[in-house]
């Protein structure tokens, strides 16, 4: 509760700060302070210190899973702002509004991670989506940004419509928006219910950019200003996944065997399309867009697994994936040339950027001693525990091997190829935070239980 209310209030505050405060640095620091406070308040709620006591009529539940994810999301946002807040200033003139929109997204994240009725799920997803449409188009003079924004808005509205239809059908079948009631009906075979669940599945798959509903992702991620792509591809995506896991646990889980083949198909298609297409990209930014599709395929195993490993796994995955991708994007923003060749010889010019970037890329590829390894490991273990569908697991690891190809292309460019990959000037604080972030990635790669144990308090 703390997070939802506080982020909404701070978002409004940020909006008005644009009027009263002239100094850009002050606004930036206000935003960073806001996220830090948000993180603290959420941590306080995790240890049962809630400030706001509002009767939510059981429409929201604040359990350890949702709160832990909030911590991950807010922590990642804090790191993201520390690294890239300066670059947000450079996007356009409405600096304060960008920060305000980010806070509104975080409010949506808070709702999506704790919904207990479909109504709240819908609200959460929409509160996340609408600011993103604006942020995508925030580079107003850039045609690509405009195109991306419009595309995102049209496709997004379409999937929202599908979601509403699904919710309506489910309401018709169960007579309630409560997730708990869905499970009872879903157990038997009620055609209206099944149709509703299918529509809901499709719209959620759209939001997490799972194949075959992924077509918007590369264009939107590529067209949006890179700072906002970093935010969209990491924290937002993970939040929608967490909402998906919650929904699945309650509504689909009891009748999982009916859905398993569908999910298996989505996983296989997402992994295949994401990984294979990423191989052929020339721009690192676009490669990261496809890589985010590929990573979504792995995150889908959390739905497929539906056991205690899956919940731990999605938290680890959200953290590992968000932290590494934020780091890679933060470095990408500093690059003069976004193609793979633009990274040639970066290790000589900027050894520290190259070294930390390597750690992030290794983490995304799932090499041991980085957080990404345990992320993938938990997903595999969740899937293997169910016994069946071992072919899918083997297919997934083969796709993970393919992913090494495009992540390592960046490493090869930085270290092994000759060239003068140029990066813009970076401040010492930026470097320090990058090193800390890399340290965090390695720490989680050695002791993932630092994060997962909080699920059980």
């Amino acid at each position: 509760m703390n997070a939802i209310i506080f982020s909404a209030i701070w978002g409004l505050l940020m909006m008005f700060s644009g009027i009263f405060i002239r100094a850009k640095a002050a606004i930036r620091n206000l935003a960073i302070a806001g996220v830090a406070l948000l993180l603290l308040l959420n941590l306080a709620e995790m240890s049962h210190m809630s400030i706001f006591h509002i009767n939510v009529r059981n429409m929201l539940v604040f359990d350890s899973f949702g709160l832990l994810f909030n911590t991950v999301a807010f922590g990642a946002t804090l790191i993201y702002l520390l690294l890239s807040a300066k670059d947000i200033d450079d996007v356009g003139v409405n600096q304060a509004e960008y920060f305000a929109l980010i806070f509104f997204v975080l409010c949506g994240v808070g709702i999506a991670s704790s919904f207990n009725t479909l109504l709240m799920l819908f609200l959460g997803i929409e509160i996340i989506s609408i600011p993103l449409y604006i942020l995508t188009g925030s580079d107003k003079k850039n045609l690509k940004s405009n195109e991306a924004s419009l595309k995102y808005f049209l496709m997004g509205s379409f999937s929202t419509g599908i979601m509403l239809m699904g919710i309506a059908l489910i309401y018709g079948a169960s007579g309630s928006f409560a997730v708990a009631n869905m499970a009872k009906i879903a157990n038997g075979f009620v055609p209206v219910m099944m149709a509703g669940l299918l529509l809901l599945l499709i719209s959620m798959s759209f939001k997490v950019s799972a194949a075959p509903f992924h077509f918007w992702t590369p264009d939107v991620y590529d067209g949006a200003p890179t700072v906002f792509t970093a935010f969209m591809a990491t924290i937002v995506k993970a939040a929608v996944f967490v909402a998906f896991v919650r929904l699945f646990d309650a509504a689909y889980g009891p009748s999982l065997y009916q859905w398993r083949l569908t999910i298996a198909f989505i996983i296989a298609a997402t992994l295949f399309i994401g990984n294979i297409t990423a191989v052929f990209q020339q721009s690192v930014k676009r490669m990261l867009a496809y890589s985010s599709i590929a990573q979504a395929g792995f995150m889908f195993f959390a739905l497929f697994g539906y056991n205690e490993y899956a919940k731990e796994g999605i938290i680890i995955y959200a953290a590992a994936y968000s932290l590494a991708t934020i780091g890679i994007f933060a470095i990408l923003i500093k690059m003069k040339d976004y193609t793979f060749d633009g990274y040639n010889g970066l290790a000589k010019q900027q050894p520290l950027l190259a070294a930390t970037n390597t750690i992030f890329l290794l983490s995304l590829a799932g090499i041991p001693a980085t957080a990404g390894f345990f992320a993938k490991y938990y997903m595999l273990i969740a899937a293997v525990k169910n016994g069946a569908y071992l072919w899918l697991v083997i297919f997934a690891v083969l796709c993970a091997a393919v992913s090494a190809y495009y992540y390592f292309r960046v490493i090869q460019a930085m270290y092994f190829k000759e060239g003068n990959g140029q990066a813009k000037e970076v401040s010492p604080t930026f470097k320090i935070i990058l090193v800390l972030l890399a340290g965090l990635v390695i720490l989680l790669g050695l002791f993932p239980q630092l994060l997962t144990t909080h699920l059980y308090f």
Binding site: E312, L362, I367, P368, A369, F373, Y377, L380, I381, V384, K385, L390, V393, I394, V397, L398, A400, A401, A404, Y405, F408, Q412, Y415, F416, K417, F447, P448, Q449, T452, T453
Partner: protein, 486 residues
């Protein structure tokens, strides 16, 4: 504690080296760290060889039930000793090589040593997997940064091959983990009784990774390119120690855990090994490039070790143990000579060399010793291992083709003599040409390291008993679990 130190010393040394900017002091630090590891390893063999000193166990990942469990049994001792001996030797032998950003080169070398040690001491399957992958990353960087002209493609091929193998192995490990009531502990795995139908396919999930590492034909194609393109010091690590990871892993994590699978596929794997041995030997005969020749000879030798494992016979397994150590030492010796020749003359082509024996008798004598050990002449260490392995394959109780296998493998020994002696002839005898006339005398560090290797070759060749005693318990234990299937 010894096992922890074996990982920790090179790890700390390696990380510290990133901060040492001066190259010559970096060399010194690396050599010092390598010798420290050797001392610890020898202490573990002699004075401090009680179980309490060797083993260490502490919880690591609570919810996954994985422990940081490291320890040394006979086989682990032997391979750790090999690793500990090899690195100082490599550092000495390549003392005069200079590298750009030398401190990073030595740092990554030490990190790879830490990873290798971890593989050999891990008693927990997840930990084993962890180190298995970690050992690869520094080597990948070493080869890609300091390698030859086609290094990027060659080392990436190597990386992708092994990465695919290890990911498939990871699925196998997870599957066995659930069969073992969610335990990664080695002893728990040994006491598993997985039904033979499952073992039948589970075997391949693990074996592919190990086969790629060894490498067994037809998974070997990464190897000649990687050996050729890597800087010589890294090639020594790859061929001397890293490929032993495959043999070691079969003995520790495959044969005792999946005895039925090992038994069922024994003849198939033997066929692959024999094909690979003949194939590699024939190619080696036709090779003109010294590095590639040694690379193919290594495939043939590894094939014999793999063959002997699947014969599951006591003498055969003993032979594998001895040969793992001997082959590691011998092939490093061969690479040292190759490196010396390349730095002197700037070529590795046999056809361009000749008549070196008169010019450089010391190098010639030492190479002949190493080469004879490579073709398993009696009194050298190669003989002990290969004789025991042949004995094991011949009297194997698990296959009906023991005699046939021995005969075919025997042909490969003859072929090995052909290409090795041919190599000696072309390099050292015959007429010298303008190029070989020009060479300077061989550098002192190279001769020292080769002399050490020659001494080791004779000691273990004449008196292999301590080595056999060291590993006999491990061999018995492995065989006990392997025999449960028959």
């Amino acid at each position: 504690m010894i096992a922890v130190l074996l990982i920790l010393i090179p790890l700390i040394g390696g990380l510290a080296l990133f901060a040492v900017k001066n190259e010559s002091s970096a060399k010194g630090v690396a050599l010092f760290t390598g010798i420290a590891v050797l001392v610890v390893s020898l202490l573990g063999l002699t004075v401090m060889n009680s179980a309490a000193n060797l083993n260490y166990n502490t919880p690591w990942l609570g919810s996954l039930n994985s422990n940081f469990h490291v320890g040394l049994d006979g086989m682990g001792q032997l391979l750790c000793l090999l690793t500990a001996v090899s690195f100082p030797l490599i550092f000495i032998a390549t003392w005069n090589n200079t590298y750009k950003d030398g401190n990073r080169f030595y740092a990554l070398m030490l990190l790879s040593q830490a990873g290798l040690m971890g593989v050999f001491v891990a008693m927990d399957a997840l930990l084993f997997y962890f180190f298995w992958e970690l050992a690869l990353i520094p080597v990948y960087f070493l080869s890609s940064i300091w390698g030859g002209e086609k290094r990027i493609a060659a080392t990436f091929k190597f990386f992708v091959y092994t990465f695919v193998g290890s990911l498939i192995m990871l699925v196998g490990i997870i599957y066995i983990y659930f069969q073992a009531q969610q335990s990664f502990d080695m002893q728990a795995w040994y006491h598993l009784k997985i039904n033979p139908g499952t073992q039948n396919w589970l075997f391949w999930l693990l074996f592919i990774a190990f086969a790629i590492k060894m490498p067994v034909w037809p998974f070997h194609t990464w190897q000649p390119d990687a050996y050729e393109q890597s800087p010589t010091a890294v090639t020594m690590v790859l061929s001397g120690i890293m490929v032993k990871m495959g043999v070691f892993a079969v003995l520790r994590w495959l044969a005792p855990v999946l005895p039925d699978g090992t038994y069922l596929w024994g003849d198939t794997v033997s066929l692959l090994c024999l094909t690979g041995m003949i194939y590699a030997s024939l190619i080696a005969i036709r090779q003109d490039d010294l590095k590639r020749l040694i690379a193919y000879s290594s495939i043939a030798h590894m094939g014999l070790m793999c063959l002997a494992i699947f014969a599951s016979d006591k003498s055969g397994l003993q032979g594998v143990m001895v040969q793992m150590f001997s082959h590691g030492i011998n092939i490093i010796g061969l690479w040292i000579v190759a490196n010396a020749i390349e730095t002197k003359f700037g070529t590795r082509k046999l056809s361009e060399l000749g008549g070196l024996a008169q010019k450089d008798p010391a190098l010639a004598i030492l190479l002949v010793v190493v080469a004879l050990a490579n073709i398993a002449l009696p009194l050298t260490n190669g003989f002990v291992g290969e004789f025991l392995m042949f004995n094991g394959v011949f009297s194997s109780g698990v296959t009906r083709y023991g005699v046939l296998d021995t005969a075919v493998a025997g042909i490969c020994i003859i072929l090995a003599a052909v290409y090795t002696l041919n190599m000696i002839k072309k390099i050292f005898y015959g007429d010298s040409n303008a190029l070989t006339q020009s060479g300077r005398p061989t550098a002192f560090p190279v001769l020292v390291s080769l002399a050490v290797i020659a001494v080791l070759i004779f000691i273990t060749g004449v008196y292999p008993k301590p080595m056999l005693q060291l590993t006999t318990d491990t061999v018995d234990a492995i065989l006990k679990y392997m025999k449960t299937s028959i």
